[in-house]
Amino acid sequence: MSAPGKKVFELFVSKIPWTLGTKEVKEYFGQFGHVKKCLLPFDKGTGFHKGFCWIGYTTEEGLHNALHKDPHVVEGTKVQVQQNMMPFTWRRMDKEAEES
């Protein structure tokens, strides 16, 4: 049970090029539905992100819209999109980055 009353519909996106930041990723995936959460973890030691992120939609529809589109090409690079299979990642990840 991750959130009361509201289910989170999550994507796991990988192979994200380094040029994209949280804002860009969120913007791109916003076209499929309202993005509630966008967690693109950065390695604070190197300053680069790790190439994957989680996108949480408020509705199942958003999730499905995103999953139905293939391929996802963001700024000329194909990113890999799949449904998030690791529901507990939210709690483990750095809380700070998710809020944006």
Partner: protein
Amino acid sequence: MLAQAGTRRKEGAMLNQYQASAVTTSRLNMAALLRSARALNLSASPLLQIKRTSNHRQTISRFYSRAVGGRGIGVCSRQIISGSFNVKSLSPCSSAWPCSGTRYYGTPAEQKVVARDEPSLGVRNKQAHQFDWALAKLDSSVRRTGRVTKSLLQRIFHDICRTGYPSGNQALLLLRSCGSLLPELPLAERTEFAHHIWGKLLELGAAYDVSHYNALLKVYLQNEFKFSPTEFLAKMEAANVQPNRVTYQRLIAAYCQVGDIEGASKVLGFMKSKDLPITEAVFNSLVTGHSRAGDMESAVNILSVMRGTGIDPGPDTYLALLVAYAEKGDMDKIKETLNQVENTDISLMDRDLMQVVFTLTMAGHQQHVPEVLEHLRHDGGFVPDAMNLCLSLITQGHESTAFMLLKTFPSVQADSQNSNGPDVGNFFLRHCVNTNKSPEELVGFCKGLMDSNLHAAPMQFTLYCALEAKKMALAIEVMKTMKEEGLPIRPHYFWPLLAQHNRDQNTAAMGVDIGSWPGLHWTSTEPPPFLKIGGPLFSFATACARTWRGRHSPVPERVPPPRLGPGVGVQGSAGELGLGLGQLRRNAASLDLWCPVDQGELVERWKGEGGGQERCLWPAGAWSPVFHAATHSAVPLCSPTGTLEVLKAMQELSTEPDIDTYCNYVLRTFPSVDSARTALADAGIAVDTIAFVSAEVRAEAAEGNLARLFAFLSSPSLPAIDIGVFRGSLIAGFKRSSDVENMVNLTELLYKDTRLSQTSTGTGENMAYFLYHLFDGMSETEVQAKEEVLREYLQQLHKKDICIPVNIYRGIRNILDSHHVPELIKDVLTLVYNKEVESISTISSGLESRVTLERKLEELKAQGSSGDSAGAALIFKRLISAVCAEENLPRALELKAEHEDKMSPSCYALLINLCCRHDNPEEALNLKRELARMDSEATLDVNKYMSLLRVLSKHNRLEGMERAGPRRAASFVSAIGRNRSWPDLCLSRPCPEAVDILKEMKEKDVVVKDTAVVLLFHTFSAVALRGDVAALRRLQDTTFTLGLAKPTSNLCSPMVTMYLEKGDFAGALEAVMECETQYHQLPRIHDVLCGIVKKGDTELLQKAMDFVSQQRGEMTVLYDLFFAFLQTGRYREARKIIETPGLRAKPGRLQWYAERCIGSNQMEALETMVDLTAKLFECDRDEMYHYLLRLCKDTNDWSKAEAVWTKMQEENVIPRERTLRLLADIFKTNNQEVPFEVPEMWYEQHEAKEHHEAVNGERAAFRASSLKEASPSRYQLRVMALCKKRKVQEAYNVLKEAERLGMALVPACYDALIKALLSSGSMEDAMAVKDIAANHITGFRLSDMAHNLQIITQVKQERPQDALASLKTMLQMDQVPSQLALTRLVQGLGSHGDIKGIQEVASLIKSLSPSLNMSSMLFVNNMALAHIKNGDLERALEDLESLYTQTSDHSQQSIAFVFRKVVEAHNDEAFDKLRTMAERLCHQFASYRPATDLFLQCLDTGRVEEARQLLQRCAAVAEQKTALVSYMAKASQSPGQIAKIKNLLELIPDFAEKELVYAYMMKCHAMDKNLEEAKALYRRMQAEGLQMNELSLKRLAQLYKKAGEPVPFEEPPGDFQVLCRQTKGLHVAKS
């Protein structure tokens, strides 16, 4: 070619060529020559730079006198002699030799002086794994890319150093990688690295053999390192390593590389004299040599010389020639040579042409490069090879030529649908960045890449590399260009630049920027000395280590650390030091770093150096400033100017930093938020942006500074900031704070202030979610610890009329529930608007217990078996199965006739199978039909169908329609009766009955798998053997079309085999083609092709090739042909095939052929394959040589194996450890010396050594030569190893030797030996060792285990008093005696009649006894025995009797031990009295235990009569079922006990349920491996109508299997343990 015949022949030819030199040098020793040269002491002028006065043409004519024509022999020899003693050419090249040369080449004695401890088993094991890992890693890198990155190599080097004790193989692997495999490194750096590795590994104890020296030579050659060959040889000689062919070859190459033909000639002459074969490689070197000496004519002439000696110039020869022309820039000659090559059957690979390109460029003839590039074919390995060339060129400063090459790279066309844009040239850009090319140049390359459509985003990639390498200036320049191009510049692009300024929080907290500390620019690849220090500064040291790690050891800058002088040291005591070190060690481990010093050692050194004073452990001068800085951390070493610079650059590029930029990278470089604000403002950076303010809020929140935060947030000037931006930090702040007032204030602010809620959800919901997240973000302990604060907080919220929706409440409730703080729930509940009461439905458990169900099941079973007919049928089935097991067909058929009514489908199945086995298809079919009549649905299992099929096919029940007519009609009828359509059931077809079987199998869904497939194959083969094409085709087709079995190559092969047997290759090919078209299988294509090749039928071959190529592609054909040519000995053709451009290694296919060769002992074919695949793209060379060695092993041909090893060196192949082991094995079995260090388990190694030494006598082990290695650690290891191997006496001898040498070993070692000696009963020796240990180690004491063993040994030696003394010592030392030791001691005392002793022990361990779990009966029984021993029988009886009369529960009190001892001592008097007592206890006191014990004792000792009498007198014994059953259970645990159980059963037939008794009996039979008895038992049970449990059935089945008999019943599935547990569970449930 390894084929010795070939080389011999060539060699023969060579002999003539080199007569001249042979005369003079045949008896000369090369090294002696060198020595004499050095003796002249004229070493000043470096060998390789001498000015040569002799005429090259003359020199060559000396050597190739016959081929070139010229001088007479006599003259030549004289010249050679003078040449040999040409002091100039032989003088050691001191200037070219690495200055510390001597360090790198240790003599064997030196090599063996290992400074550090011997490796433990774990270390060795780990290392073996690691080596495999490292090798795989490097190997895959080399195979994929043809290079190794510096960082990978360094990492592996560090890993090996860290583990210590490098193996020879690891050394070889590392050394080999230091040459051309490192194109990213300048040549000099590569050699330097190689030398570093060489020295370091030698220090760590690596043993170098000839392969290492050869590898080093190769590295020298590849790096064009100038060295003195003579000195090299001298070093080898000093190290007692014999040079081999490869060494000489490479020395020749070294001479040739500098154009020293004379030097080369001398080595050549020497090789000749040693009768070493002169291979193509030597000639190739000579081509280079002559050309470098400026004599192109001679260089060209070498080719004809080669031909003259019977060696055809190969691709490498032409390459040498091409390179020679390239050096001159002679493009015409290059073209001419290329044309010339084209006319031979040699093909030059792209890699070769790239060599030419490289040479042209390096020689300054870049203008010709495009012309050579045109000749590139772009085949298989083009890209990796071209990448390496590019990298090399960039490294050497020729990036524009490299770019020219890069532009010829194939562009992967971007498929907009599926892939990313093209990105050719990443490697190029990265390397340009790493080698500090100018921004302008890089931008130029980027534009060029984009223009030629090779790369979609080169700028971004370049920027990435610049950021990664922290090259700020370059990054900014690239970003400027990007901005001009209209590309976005995002805030996070600057993060990597910012990150370097706050790399480590520890250091940031201390205010020290480690990254900026000059001392951290380590010049070597060793970890920094910080890791070698301990002390309270571990975090600092760790931070340093992390910095170092993060930098992958930086570019050597050779900045010496500044010296502030001594006096500044680490503060702390030894204790702190230890603590710090432990932590440091852990930190270092997590960073994958090396931390070598053991804590004890460190403390020792601490004491030793400082005597308890505060002192640094490492030379204080060098690193003390850092400690100083760390301990006086108030003054930061670095101001955050770096950060400000980045921010300014951002401003310049008009990229506004976002909140994350400030929070994660900017603010933390400043001591406080305020100071950051000031500094930024001072630097002219805007601070009133939303991003900065949000960052401030976040930072304050995270600090837990709630009052300040509230003030800040409630200020009306605050811009709108969404809670989402700082929610996480706020939660963290709440968790840290207990400032309830401000918590409430802030929450209220969230609830009301719309500025904090920018998203669509309202403020109320926002706050509610915050509350939820607050609880969610706390762990159980956190919530529990803060419970009061939280309660107060919630109550305050309620007072402020703050409400939350019910769903949020539910969420929080669940969290609190799971955190076990339900008390808080009601406080949360008060916040809910609408207080719904939630009813929690308790689900009543409607499940019945498992036990009840099981009981029901049992009852049902019992009722079923009581029914007469069912039971009878069961027995009948068992009977049939028994008869079948006996293979008695007539009897089985008789039985069937007698009991037709009892025939069940399973009976039929058994009988059908029996008929098949007895080759009786007629009867089998009869039975089958009857079965079908009885039950049309009945299905046989797959194996029975298979036997039926086989017997039918075998008996040609194929054409026999007429005979089978009526029955077939019946079958028809039954088929129609079953309403099944059999459409293709027609007469006069082959194999009708067999085919019907197949169809029936399909209908009944019988799955054909595993063994059944094999049976099917045999069936097909049998038909093929008869040559019945139609039948075979029919059977195959039916099987495959029905989908019963997959048409595998194997199943399809019988058809091909049939034609091959007849020698009809056309037919065979047709059959293969048919299989391919129908089933996509190419069965036996290899054999077919071999046949065709052998026959020379080119037309047919063409047909086969066309077909396979069309079906399977060209690659398959090429391999097929390659193998066919190899197999038929047409090696020339095979070579042409394998050299096809673009062909890649197919490991699976190569393995297939290799295994075939090994299996059929085809050395020549295998050898040729290995040889021909040398240049095959991606070919695993070690694997190939391993195949060869396996065959050598099979044929036990050690000389061939040795040739293989030399060949591997020549080819620069690193053997895997298993390969070396195999090689060593071959040498050893042939009593040959193994010329390299064998990677073995340390254990075996030492054992072997010890064995050897044992032969030579004890003392011989430590002869003068090995004295040097006689370090305590070596002795320790020996002793421990021998102890483990139970070679106790040898271990003792080793220890004595160590003692003689006055060595002190570690306590553990003495302890191990003492234990081993005690275990073998050598008390005296053990005590002697103890004394030795005590001499060396003050306060040495035996370990618990040793003490226990000592007690046991003393008891065994009948010295219970000594044992008692030992026990006392133990207890004094707070050691805990073992149960066994105590038991033995008390027993020992008892048998000696030592009553006092027993009492003493009892009182001694009284305090310990609960933890020891000793039985009280131990003392009672042994006291009694002691009394008996002392003749005080009365006292014994009195004690025992009182035991039973005075206590109530006697069930656990067994005096069986007393009975046993008395019986064993043949003390009849005592026995009688005891018996009387037992009987009395039984009759008068109803204490049955003694009588039962006695009864069982009688039984156990075979006194059955006495037992019987006892039973008559004490009938109650028969009622002691628990004791009896446990006796039976115990007896059944060891073999040979069945008689006892039988006796028991005879005396008391009903002491337990029959099933149980039989189960134990079965266990006994299983123990005794007595199948006959077990069978009888089984029959008996069947006769008695008893069900045997699964466990027993399993046991029986195992017995059958062990005896090699078929199991006549279905073996219960599952393993023993599961069955045991099940059976146990069943008993429990029953009772």
